[in-house]
Symmetry: C2
Subunit: 468 residues, 2 copies
């Protein structure tokens, strides 16, 4: 291995091959500290040619590679194994925006560009890059693509997959696939880029992408609503769409316990309603669009139909920020209750109510006093169904129930035809669980693709698909 390290240093410069344990620390653990590994070394190539050379050298030595972006994943997908055998390939020196074509509404960015930098580049030409999520200050384009990131605007714009027009990928043997096309339509054979989106680096290393930009939406109207039920939340989606069409950009659900936590952390509650469910609605349109009237019309119709109990509409930018805080600060506020057992599940929108109705009694029966703190994306059928400990239970005792409680959440989700990982991916943390819920045919198909593209099994082994 010292031989490989030396050759890597020759290829990309010794200063970009880290082996000192002190230097390796931040690359060895995810941001939450939930996953931890021990890399053989960390390599930081500065160009696609250097990535290609690194991958080829590792391939020829039979050494596995773990690609890493902003290291903000939720499932350990970018963390190496703990046996010191795997090379972490960090893309954080590849931060160029190679081109921006406003006329074509496309931007070509390298894998290490931080999501917020990408959003800013789009804004600088009066356009919008619509993917937005909590980690946008540190997550990267390559990671967003490799995990098919979601966030709060999926309802309108789709996930990261929907933004990708072209990709540049270093394949497991070091060859470069140049699929950096700026085309809206290209039916010349298999759409290869789809393979690498959401593959978490198990089929190759994404080094750059052409992404679509959207028209800016400077006109915004935002409301906080209280709801009689989850079923009303799902029905409200139809009403909002009927009145506002594509202007509807946000429809986020928050449960009463989640709201109470945020309010206890100092965010003002604009409604003081007794309801069990709340939500954040936002319309966004071009300059001059009368989004305010559309929102009032839609909410009026919803109140009429008993889908909304009460509503507060933001009258200023600072009020809008306040309403968004009610949704965005749930995760942070929940930390005050001790450790959280997190779930990221999705079902068909019309099954959301069913899922919540089934889970509440089942979880209470399994662990009396357990506290669900639920929030999520109604338009995507996606709930972050997170659990906090009963007030009287010791954190470690609570975590001892994690497997049992998660199985209940996942079983109920799958029984409704749902997904146990809507937007967070699988990494190492959920790979085996996901496989256990899938049919043999589906696992076989996934393994066949993996075998076809990475026959040596050196690209991020054990992620997405469990090792056999």
């Amino acid at each position: 291995m010292t031989d490989l390290i030396a050759r890597l240093g020759e290829a990309i410069g010794a200063s970009h091959v880290l082996t000192d344990p002190h230097d390796l620390a931040s690359y060895s653990v995810d941001w939450r500290g939930a996953y931890r590994g021990t890399p053989l070394a960390v390599v930081r190539p500065g160009s696609t040619a250097e990535v290609s050379e690194v991958v080829r050298l590792a391939h020829d030595s039979g050494v596995a590679i773990v690609p890493q972006g902003g290291n903000t994943g939720m499932c350990g997908g970018a963390v190496p194994s703990d046996d010191g055998s795997q090379l972490v390939l960090s893309l954080n020196r590849m931060r160029a925006i190679r081109s921006l074509d406003a006329g074509s509404a496309t931007i070509t960015a390298e894998a290490g560009v931080v999501l917020q930098e990408l959003q800013s580049a789009a804004e600088s030409v009066g356009m919008l890059f619509p993917v937005s999520l909590a980690a946008e200050g540190s997550c990267t384009v390559g990671g967003n693509i490799s995990t098919n990131a979601g966030g709060t605007a999926v309802l309108r714009y789709g996930m990261m997959r929907a933004q990708v027009l072209g990709l540049e990928v270093v394949l497991p043997d070091g060859r470069v696939w140049d699929g950096l096309r700026s085309l809206r339509k290209d039916n010349t054979g298999l759409d290869l880029k789809q393979l690498f989106i959401g593959a978490e680096g198990t089929l190759g290393v994404v080094t750059a992408a052409v992404l679509a930009l959207q028209p800016a939406t400077p006109s915004r109207a935002t409301a906080w609503v209280s709801l009689p039920s989850v079923s009303a939340a799902a029905s409200l989606l139809s009403v909002l769409r009927e009145h506002a069409g594509d202007w509807l950009s946000t429809w986020e659900l928050v449960s009463r316990p989640a709201l109470e936590l945020v309010v206890a952390h100092g965010v003002p509650d604009p409604l003081t309603s007794e309801a069990d469910w709340f939500g954040l609605v936002e319309l966004a349109g071009p300059a001059g669009a009368d989004v305010g009237s559309a929102l009032e019309d839609a909410l009026g119709a919803a109140v009429e139909a008993d889908l909304v109990l009460d509503a507060a509409i933001a009258g200023s930018a600072s009020q809008r920020t306040g309403l968004w805080s009610l949704r965005e600060r749930v995760s942070e506020a929940q930390e005050s209750l001790g450790p959280t057992i997190k779930h990221d599940v999705s079902v068909a929108i019309s099954s959301l109510d069913d899922l919540v109705s089934r889970l509440a009694p089942a979880l209470e029966a399994a662990l009396p006093g357990v506290r669900p703190v639920i929030y999520g994306h109604v338009g995507d059928g996606n709930l972050h169904y997170n659990l906090s400990r009963p007030a009287s239970l010791d954190p470690d005792e609570f975590l001892a129930h994690a497997a049992q409680l998660s199985t209940l959440v996942h079983d109920a989700t799958v029984a409704l035809g749902g997904s146990i990982s809507a937007e967070h991916g699988l990494g190492s943390g959920k790979a085996a669980t996901a496989a256990s819920y899938k049919s043999d045919v589906e696992v076989d198909l996934m393994r066949a693709v993996k075998q076809a593209l990475d026959p040596a099994g050196l690209m991020n082994p054990g992620k997405v698909l469990p090792l056999q």
Copy 2:
């Protein structure tokens, strides 16, 4: 083979296994009569289980299968070889809409459902299925998925791929992959459905799909515009988006010769402008949306910026139909000039002008008097760059130039980073041409996936990828 025919009859009923040459005729040739083959037999299974049984029997006999939907493709993808060795598997008995969930905005349809039936089903619950194309009265859901169909609303809603939430596929060995999920988000591993979309039946047979529906857009505003240049057409896209945002649903380009043909066929010209380029713009929004004002504002700004010379706005439904005819009847009107050499190319939107500017003199030099009749989808960078013969040239002599002229069109497109088949796919007609323009790495990747999923090479051989 008589043994296989007998077993197929036992599996799905002898009346659904056609071998009489008279019965085979309509399945042996595409709608244009451009591709012709000779099937071993035509099988018409009535369920997914029957498709599975047919594929398994053929697989075990080493007989190749050609899946066929509405048979309206442009590149021969659904036509068998002419040696009588291949089984045509028609999906036209699988016409059930299995479910429609308005609350989740999803519909589950079998492969043989005709696109227009799907659109009608969506309308029946006040929603929209947005894919729309000339063949919608006979093309099918399975074919639309297998060719990743485009059409006139891609600008706003994306291609068929963007509508697919879940798939059911019979794999090359007869196993059924049940991926019929109604989820907006599912990051539990490789997104296998992407493999089969646009694969033209070379990796398996799509038997059913879950498709997303959109909010209805009853408010419409439509205009016919004259333009100073193709470059103005591309710039106008930005202006339209800035003013109308997602309401912009159509921005179609028509060249002067194309317009003249349609007008000669009796469609009234609302502008009588001397311009070289024209276009159809449509905004569509929810009930009550003031699309008319938005269109007037946008066109006003465009005239101001010298991007539009003149405009006619439809004042009634019948005027709207008239404006649409100017675009929709080009293809039919061009037939009056004799045989057409068709191209379906795309480039980045900002390169459209470059493509047209390069091609005009090159084509004229190659065949003086050749008549380009161009129309296409500006928002997709997609032009149907079709050629008619010089008035003085015999049709057969013209067709003798087809390879030379197509090479010019394709070379120029690829030189600009474009695609030689934007929305029509490859079938047998363009498979070798597409491969000749692709890198070895890309062809290798496509072959690796094909080999992984269809090792026996029995699924629609020679389509998409040329036989080796």
